[in-house]
């Protein structure tokens, strides 16, 4: 099968800054793919390389098997939802959505009909005559989405699409975007720094750091089997434990990752396990997060609601299942 987007050893350097540094990547057709990473990790530059706004310093990019070098943005079958939406302020919503058809020379009646369908698709029917300035953030985002989908792109790029929305709206849009992607069957590639968003929406996630991809995998892979300390720490704030701890508790070599929710905290002092002291207790709604001092390490554990929570300063015993401690391949 031909990959929707493929990067072969792609680099983009700005002077001495390596924004993207020898990245290899394959996104499959119809996939909902997330690029996750802290700001400045190169994920947005990767998106701009696919859109054609940046050109690789080295390496090759292919979009559905065709080499992308020298193809200007307006000839790529790829569309973008911009972080600031970039709606044309002097056009009304309908003209914004129909812009892609207008520049292709589609007749007026045809493009109005198609644009109205697109607005209905993003659940904004009848908003065509308004100006972008008269819309809320969530509505602008839907217009930007409709505008980007009007040319029926093979790949849709979304740059921090939900970043400017409030929490409730963000959760709704996550579900909607996912449903839209499944029904259209278009490859979606979206950039985010929010690990929760990446895990809940994407079929696969690439974790970026310092211009490189640290790990690519399904959300389950990334979450339960992080390849490196960076991934373990960035995705879901895991407990990263040093090799001597791993050696003692599961007789293997390498750094380990231990999810906070995998640690059982027992207040029975005579139980078997690792003795620890509670140094902080913070209530986070569905669970309580404990800071623990164990074997000279600072560990975090989450205790689900309904379970007795030990007090600060209490001595407890920690235990975890044999599979809970994941040993990471990479050192970094």
């Amino acid at each position: 099968m031909i990959a929707a987007v493929s990067f072969e050893n792609v680099s983009r350097h700005f002077g001495s800054v390596k924004a993207v540094d020898s990245v290899d990547l394959e996104v499959q057709p119809g996939e909902f793919f997330a690029m996750l990473g802290p700001s400045g990790s190169g994920k947005t530059t990767c998106l701009r390389l696919i859109a054609g706004f940046e050109h690789p310093t080295a390496g090759a990019i292919s979009i559905f098997g065709e080499r992308a070098e020298g193809v200007p943005p307006y000839r790529r079958n790829v569309n973008t939802v911009f972080q600031d939406y970039a709606l044309f302020p002097h056009m009304n919503v309908l003209d914004n959505v129909a812009y892609g058809l207008k520049v292709k020379g589609v007749s007026k009646t045809e493009r109005i009909r198609t644009a109205e369908d697109a607005l209905a698709l993003v659940r904004l029917p009848g908003y065509g005559t308004r100006k972008p300035g008269q819309l809320s953030g969530g509505q602008r985002q839907r217009v930007a989405l409709a505008r980007a989908l009007i040319n029926r792109p093979k790949v849709l790029l979304l740059d921090e699409p939900l970043g400017a929305l409030d929490l409730k709206l963000r959760e709704n849009m996550q579900e909607e975007l996912k449903a839209l992607q499944k029904s259209l069957g278009i490859t979606f590639i979206f950039v985010t720094h929010d690990q929760g968003e990446a895990l809940s929406m994407a079929d696969r996630v690439a974790v970026f750091n310092d211009g490189r991809i640290m790990q690519v995998g399904t959300p389950q892979d990334i979450y339960t089997r992080p390849a490196s300390r960076f991934v373990a720490d960035f995705v879901g704030s895991s407990n990263v434990v040093p090799p001597d701890f791993v050696k003692r508790h599961c007789q293997r070599d390498g750094w380990g990752s231990l999810r906070p929710e995998a640690i059982r905290v027992s207040t029975q002092a005579n139980g078997t396990g690792i003795p620890a002291r509670v140094v902080s207790v913070s209530y986070i709604g569905a669970a309580t997060r404990l800071g623990l001092d164990a074997e000279g390490l600072r560990l975090h554990a989450t205790v689900p609601a309904g379970v007795t929570v030990p007090e600060r300063g209490a001595d407890v015993v920690l235990s975890f299942g044999a599979n809970a401690l994941h040993v990471m391949e990479a050192d970094a």
Binding site: A51, P73, D84, Y99, G100, V103
Partner: protein, 271 residues
């Protein structure tokens, strides 16, 4: 709402404001009054009588029409040159980062800060060195030097307020460079260009100093007026022309003010 907003200003301040306004505008009003006086040799106060005959006299003077034609032609062409060059400069300076960008920006603005006499002398010697005969075209070039600045300033401010992602969005949706300029860039900077163009036209229309240095036998309207003042013949004609100049330059300046005020919201700041 603060209650003291409605409180009136102290009397002293009111008097001072009135004096300031009178100082600024009474001389201009005098020009208007003398356009209708019956006496045509000296500016006698109070005017012995009022007449509208000078409007007709002015209308029938071919030298006024000649000077007006030169002025309009010069202002129009200089403005056109300024719009093209000023917009291109503004696009380059705001659209990209390069070494010496701020210096170039300063060098573009400099002609308006320089005294007109310096611009005039330097242009005159440059034209002489290059053996360019003085004509309407040398006046146009002289005026273009400061007209470019006005257009540039307006355009660069608008470019800075226009989000760069708008242009990228247009490319992304399949528009090439020309379509992007026509459908996205031009509508966004249009009012700024119009405002800049109007100011440039007004500046050129009443320019004297640079014109004196760059003109050959041609007389623009302001130069004609200057010459007219030393010749005591049908003096009120000059005043009629002055009145027209005030009106002609006032309209574009007021229009430019309203045009730039409307575009105050940041284009493309869609968050």
């Amino acid at each position: 709402m603060r209650s003291d907003r409605k409180a009136s200003a102290p009397l002293g301040l009111k008097v001072a404001t009135a004096c300031g306004l009178l100082f600024l505008h009474v001389p201009i009003l005098l020009i208007f009054v003398y356009a209708f006086t019956t006496e045509d040799k000296t500016y006698q106060w109070p005017p012995p009588g009022f007449t509208t005959q000078w409007l007709g006299v002015t209308w029938n003077r071919p030298d006024v029409w000649e000077a007006l034609t030169v002025s309009v032609k010069v202002a129009a062409i200089a403005t056109l040159i300024a719009i093209v060059l000023g917009t291109l400069c503004a696009a380059a300076v705001s659209g990209s980062r390069f070494f010496g960008r701020e210096v170039i920006s300063l060098l573009i603005i400099l002609p308006i800060a320089l005294p007109g006499i310096i611009t005039g002398i330097s242009l005159r010697s440059a034209f002489s060195l290059m053996d360019i005969p003085f004509s309407t075209w040398t006046i146009v070039l002289g005026h273009a030097t400061f007209c470019v600045v006005v257009v540039y300033n307006n355009a660069v401010a608008r470019f800075r307020r226009t989000s760069g992602s708008l242009i990228e969005a247009s490319y992304d949706l399949g528009a090439d460079g020309f379509q992007t300029f026509r459908h996205v860039v031009l509508p966004n900077i249009g009012t700024a260009l119009l405002a800049g163009g109007m100011l440039a036209f007004a500046l050129s229309f009443d320019e004297v100093i640079v014109t004196t240095f760059t003109a050959g036998q041609q007389q623009t309207l302001p130069i004609w007026m200057l010459e007219e003042l030393v010749r005591p013949r049908q003096r009120p004609v000059t005043n009629v022309v002055a009145m027209v100049v005030v009106l002609v330059t006032l309209i574009p300046i007021v229009a430019a003010y309203y045009l730039t005020r409307e575009g105050d919201q940041v284009s493309g700041a869609g968050k």
